[in-house]
Amino acid sequence: MTDLRALNDAFEELERRADAATARMPLGLPPRTRPAASWSRTRLVPITLAAAVVAGVATGAVLLVPTNDPGSQTGLLAASSTPPPVTTTSTPPPPPAHESPEVLAERFRAVLGDLGTFVVTETGPGASVMTLPAGPLTGAPTTLDPEPTKQVGSSIVGTLTATGVTGGFDLLMYPGRAGDKAQCALPDEPSCTVRDLPDGSTLATGQFGLEGSGVTNEVKLIRPDGLVFGMHVSNRQSPKGSGPVLAGHPPLTVEQLVAIATSDRW
């Protein structure tokens, strides 16, 4: 055993390495006039980050949402307060798939049908929303921190078996911002494709090679109202590409993921 001095020494050594790296980095400041995203790399554009860890679940997303952003409010309203359709029966409309992990799993089972079976090992929200303080955009500082993080949507993680092949998967759905576009987790990968669908949704797909013989297939669909659907399957036990290799390839192809994401049974 040692004491905290060893940890402090480790921090100081890492600081020294950081300073050396910083000295090598070009400053690369953006121009004073701010064309949209002029500073950022291609993959920095979306407000929706490509999924961050939320409490207890190794999948999800983080949104940075200005509270007075009309686009954001419209998106959330569109997803949450649309009046129910007029009906002559007393049957209530089914809850949205992202209402809870249980509903999401149930709906996924219906969408998957005979294609495969799955076991859920983790559940949680679909996204954490960090909200910036409301304007004004100028003047004195407002608050010390942004508003508390809010969690929205649902996610499930587990293993999935299709045609005798088993691998890890994760699946998330949450109401995001209307107008956001889907992107691959690794947009620079040659396998990444992004396209618009006739209904106004955007669809991103990709296949990522992992260490060893690991492969992860990904699909991301963002509907016009901002509803986000994301899914990954891997031939490793974890959809993040870690854990033991369970098969030679993921249990579902990218094309099958697209069929699942665009199913009208959600």
């Binding site: 040692t2 060893a6 050594e13 980095m25 400053l27 920095l44 860890v53 190794a58 999948t59 993040k240």
Partner: protein
């Protein structure tokens, strides 16, 4: 504060924080660049906060914990684990490098909790907010992490505050 002013003044501290968090300078560079890119797009709002740096640092933590960063393919470039702690024969250096390797092998959330408490000097309640979990979870994560790091708090108990 203008964004350029923030970058000039705070990027070194962000790089230090990100490097301590990731134990890898290449990953720290990548994360800091990405986060500054997103901060730039929202600087009008971030800059009016009382503690813009605290917010940007939180963005760094979130980016580090994001699943894109967790892809296994991003892990083999670890520069820390490859270090061999016998360069100068110093016991102190060997202990330090061994500690860095143990730190690098911690699960991400445990490492984030340890860094936020012992490097950034945040109280557990703020760490819980940053990591989106309960205070009891923070404490159990830190407890497990310290056991893995083989740190005995009773040996020399003190904490660290970020000064830059």
């Amino acid at each position: 504060m203008e964004f350029a002013e923030y970058v000039v003044g705070r990027r070194p501290a962000l790089m230090r924080f990100a490097t301590v968090l990731t134990c890898q300078t290449w990953l720290a560079e990548d994360i800091v660049s990405d986060v500054l890119g997103r901060a730039f797009e929202r600087w009008d709002r971030i800059s009016v906060m009382a503690e813009p740096h605290a917010y940007v640092r939180r963005m760094v933590v979130n980016e580090y914990l994001s699943w894109r960063r967790r892809l296994a393919r991003t892990s083999p470039r670890a520069e820390v684990a490859e270090d061999v702690p016998v360069g100068d024969g110093s016991d102190e250096r060997a202990a330090r490098d061994a500690m860095i390797r143990r730190l690098a092998r911690l699960p991400r959330r445990q490492r984030a909790a340890v860094v936020l408490r012992y490097y950034a000097g945040l109280p557990d309640a703020e760490i819980a907010v940053e990591l989106g979990c309960r205070v009891t979870t923070v404490r159990s994560q830190i407890s497990r992490a310290l056991a893995t790091l083989r740190v005995d708090l009773t040996a020399n108990p003190h904490t660290y505050q970020e000064t830059r």
